[in-house]
Symmetry: C2
Subunit: 283 residues, 2 copies
């Protein structure tokens, strides 16, 4: 059995029956080198796959994830799936979540684990992802208990203008100016909602899209920070949508202010159609 093929054990299972399991995951990204497994690095994916292997007593559990978050980015609503033999699943029954809680470090939690239809695909089946980016512009600095997930900004931000600029970024566009280049990846996305709100000194940017390309949310927020400070006018971020390559003028906001908060899927009977549609569009 090759280490490179974590599904091998599943396929060899005597019963032959395989189930697909959905995981709902939260993590503090501070001490992770991002979601995706990288040799020699502590990543969320490898951490959870190791825990699943240990708890389910299988040779491997390969996770497919909704949002491949970067180093330092957090999640309260991450979703992933993996396939496992029915016999391994049934041996644990409903105790998987509790057992994972016992073996995982407190900076990552699997809040739910449940069987989903075989057509469920955490990555290609998602209707949309929502991220929030939190900033405090209090002169004295961000409140200590929230400093792990709130960016401290030393100058006052004009939130109304930031929100107006965010509205102009909504729609179906080529967001290439806001994306780090990745071989073969499209940068055309639909931003469905983008708002900036203030509650006392806490400024929250909430953005929802069918999907995001690499570093897109942090670049969008970076452009809004320039507007909020008055370094650029309200139309500037949207004007970058006309660009044909990544903009050098957009600063990428730091990772620790960003959290993946929600991923939405269609009802079960529409799962297969959605996955098919997304795969076709991305290739």
């Amino acid at each position: 059995m090759s280490e490179a093929d974590p599904h091998a054990r599943v396929r060899l299972d005597m019963s032959g029956e395989v189930v697909r399991v959905r995981l709902d995951i939260s993590y503090d990204g501070s001490d992770f080198a991002g979601w995706a497994t990288q040799p020699g690095q502590r990543t969320v994916q490898a951490t959870i796959e190791d825990a699943l292997r240990m708890v389910l007593r299988v040779d491997g559990a390969a996770l497919t994830v909704a949002g491949r978050t970067d180093a330092g980015v957090h999640a309260t609503g991450q979703v992933a799936h993996f396939d496992v033999s029915m016999s391994a699943w049934e041996a644990l029954g409903t105790t998987l979540v509790r057992r994972l809680a016992g073996v995982l470090h407190p900076d990552v939690r699997v809040h739910e684990a449940r069987i989903v239809p075989a057509e469920f695909d955490a990555r290609f089946g998602a209707l949309w992802r929502r991220y929030v980016y939190c900033i405090s512009d209090r002169e004295s600095g961000v409140d200590p208990l929230t400093r792990g997930f709130v960016l401290s900004w030393p100058r006052p931000l004009d939130v109304e203008t930031m929100n107006a600029a965010a509205q102009r970024l909504v729609g179906l566009h080529d967001y290439v100016a806001f994306c780090r280049w990745r071989e073969g990846a499209t940068t055309i996305r639909t931003v469905q909602e983008f708002t900036v709100r203030r509650e006392q000194d806490l400024v929250t940017c909430s953005v929802r899209a069918d999907a995001f390309c690499h570093s897109m949310v942090r670049s969008l927020v970076g452009s809004l920070l320039a507007v909020g400070e008055g370094r650029h006018d309200v139309d500037w971020p949207a004007s970058l949508l006309l660009a044909t390559s990544r903009s050098d003028h957009v600063a990428v906001a730091p990772a620790h202010g960003l959290t993946l908060v929600e991923v939405r899927y269609p009802p079960d009977d529409e799962l297969a159609a959605r996955t098919e549609q997304t795969r076709a569009r991305r290739t």
Copy 2:
């Protein structure tokens, strides 16, 4: 000038005029050995006093505080005062908060600094203090981003019964069963409000009193946890109010779930009367 008398420089100031300054303070208690200065330990008091000395260029600034929080306890609404020469204060003008932000570690913030009447006393002038204690009873564990200030409780809590038990602890009582003994300190207090509420898996205990004795909030919460799990009935915490010494049966809840969130003072023209009244009662 003796190191033991931090007011010395103030008294020697040429102008002779001294002002009282109120500080509004937040901290993440995780890496502090509590508020009060202890030799060889990192404490909130010594950290802020050092920063004030550096920024104000005075030989000393002695803080008087509303709530002497224990090691690991947090604050979002701590209040302290100190006296400083008018000339030192005026040299900084309104930049004190920004300068302190620059020298303090991000786990402690001084959000406001302003001159108050000489009758203002952060400790004896307070009408009441409010603490919150946060618990998550989700089987999978507390959400990672909040794990620094939320206690993870592995079994489901009956919040309605906890709240009913909390109601019976309200009033003017001798809380000696819930207090760690301190030489000469009274354990008679007025608990003005004590509620337990649930929002999804987050259980918040909020308690307001004229003042608290040592470890009182964590002991009160410890007794409610026993009720919430069904180990004791709803009347048990209030029955301990009849005790004449500290109860061995009450577990002290861990420090990291506790936060001092608010301290309330009377209007300026009632400050002196309040301080006088409190001092008289405590001695």
